[in-house]
């Protein structure tokens, strides 16, 4: 997938999780928005909800099951889930079915 496409899927997952957040804490649809790590507004339930929504959207796009919910990756403040931009870049590397 191209980065524009992965970024769009991340934004769609943000739309879903934002409904559960107070207006002041909603994730901005920008590459530098922090998802995991210091300054991130999501608690553990928010992160799980976001990642599962993203898995479903990726699964539809790639026509295969996608597994992103991994404790070690999610807890890594410098890992691919740190920001919207790093996540979109990471998803580009996922193989297509």
């Amino acid at each position: 997938m191209e980065r524009d496409q992965t970024l769009r899927l991340v934004f769609e997952a943000i739309d879903q999780v934002n409904q559960q957040l107070p207006a002041a804490k909603r994730l901005a649809k920008r590459p530098d928005t922090v998802i995991v790590g210091p300054g991130g507004p999501l608690d553990s339930l928010g992160i799980v909800t976001f990642v599962i929504a993203l898995e479903e959207k990726l699964g539809d796009a790639l026509s295969r099951s996608v597994q992103l919910l991994d404790e070690s990756v999610l807890s890594d403040a410098e890992g691919p889930f740190h920001t919207v931009g790093s996540l979109a870049q990471y998803l580009v590397t996922l193989p297509v079915a």
Partner: protein, 560 residues
Amino acid sequence: MADRVHLVADFNAESLARLLANSVLVGADVTTSPYGQVYQTLSAPPEPDWSVVIWTQPAAVVEHFRRALDFEPVDLERALDEVRAYAEAIRRFAAGVRNVFVPTWTLPPFERGYGMLDFRSGVGLAHLLARMNLTLAEALRDDPSVFVLDAQRWMNAAGARAVSPKLWYASKTPFSPTVFEHAAADIAAALAGLRGAARRLVILDLDNLLWDGVVGELGWEGLNLGGHDFVGEAFADFQRALKGLTRRGIQLAVVSKNDEAVALEAIDRHPEMQLRRADLAGWRINWLDKAQNIVELLADLKLGAESAVFIDDSAIERGRVREAVPGILVPDWPEDPTRFRETLNSLRCFDTPFLTNEDRARSGMYAAERDRQATFAAATSLEEWLSSLNLTIGVETLTPPSLERAAQLLNKTNQMNLSTRRLTAVELEAWADDPRHTLLTFRVADRFGDYGLTAIVGLTFADRVGHLTDYLLSCRVMGRRVEETMLHVAVARCRAQGARQLIADFRSTPRNAPCLDFLRRSGLREIETHRFVWDAAVPYERPRSVALHDGSDLVTPADR
């Protein structure tokens, strides 16, 4: 006051709580019970003004269902006994809170049970679950503060992704965000209905909404409606759905840019029209601005914009009305007519906690009202016209069969309303049961038809004074001397109780100026701003044009 919603669940319901608090009921106070503590919560209700959602999974509440889920033989009667015990716990709990919402039990889409045997009585899980849900609904049906919500509809809306096993294992959340979105929207609609905020009028365009084509160009004979064309069939089906709304007490009206005679001829003469002139509460068919027409129509129907929905196939007209008529609901509308019925039936704005006989009869009242207005035009004076109506008013204290309608009227009457007090049916019944209180209901009829229960007077007696706690009247019978008759009965009731005065304190709202106007010309003295008094030593005269039937000795013979 902001809604207060408490969630009780045997699973992680935090996602639903967050949706309610942050998106659907912004500003509401939303709390959750500790995870899994259903019965503990049911034994200790939070506070009386909370609405509570009790959402459980069937295997957690009904042990015999859990066994059936493990493919042990089904013991239907013992499972249903468990359901009845659960329902009884909910009923006891409901007595201590404002309302209770109980979503039905569901199974995940992947759960196939016994496959081809799954709906066989005594065997299948699907059959057992259906019986459990029916038993639950029947056990709770007589409690007016408990509402069983159809969770299967939320599951269907989410399709195969109604559940996510990963979400369950990772967070003990058994439903997807989409299921919760639909649940939250239904709960919000139910709360709005309980506040009396359900929409009561649908204002419709004509061309390309009720029929396919432009009647001014094609004539009614050229319109595509009904018949064997799938598009024509979709338009006719949409009209049937609209007609169905009228049987729920929702009025229909037309605002259309057309030649009135041409459009009405189509409504009257097209053989496939499902809606006829008698189905319409009113219309404005001309070439003027639709927003202005809507404002005038609402004034005629004595309804506020927040009671109305406007449906138009034109996005430009929808945008104009949305902007120019604050409060009106203008739903986005699909271009594809085969989706019109689906879009209408998906609207949640009509949800109400009751369906009364008055609602079902309302559609038949439009033609009667037009006949009535025709006689008004021919009369030489207002008094002559009122006398010709043969108006009869029956008054009685609140009875159980009248409770739902009385609560409905109390919660949705805005204009002729002294205090705009809002109470649930349970709260109203409890208030009326207090010996210091008298709650009177008024049924109004004339020679053109029966309006049903259309007015309420609530009185509180203390220190030989009768306080008019509630004084409200449906806008449909305003200006027909019902107002004066209600005061006559209220004063007579004060006299019968030995009260020296009737006092009415007007509480102003953005909508109830008509009530203040009436009070100021009623003959009651305004002894200070918005406080009105009548000396009960003197009867308040009954209007001569009204025949009063007092079925329960509320009024002493001298005052009849």
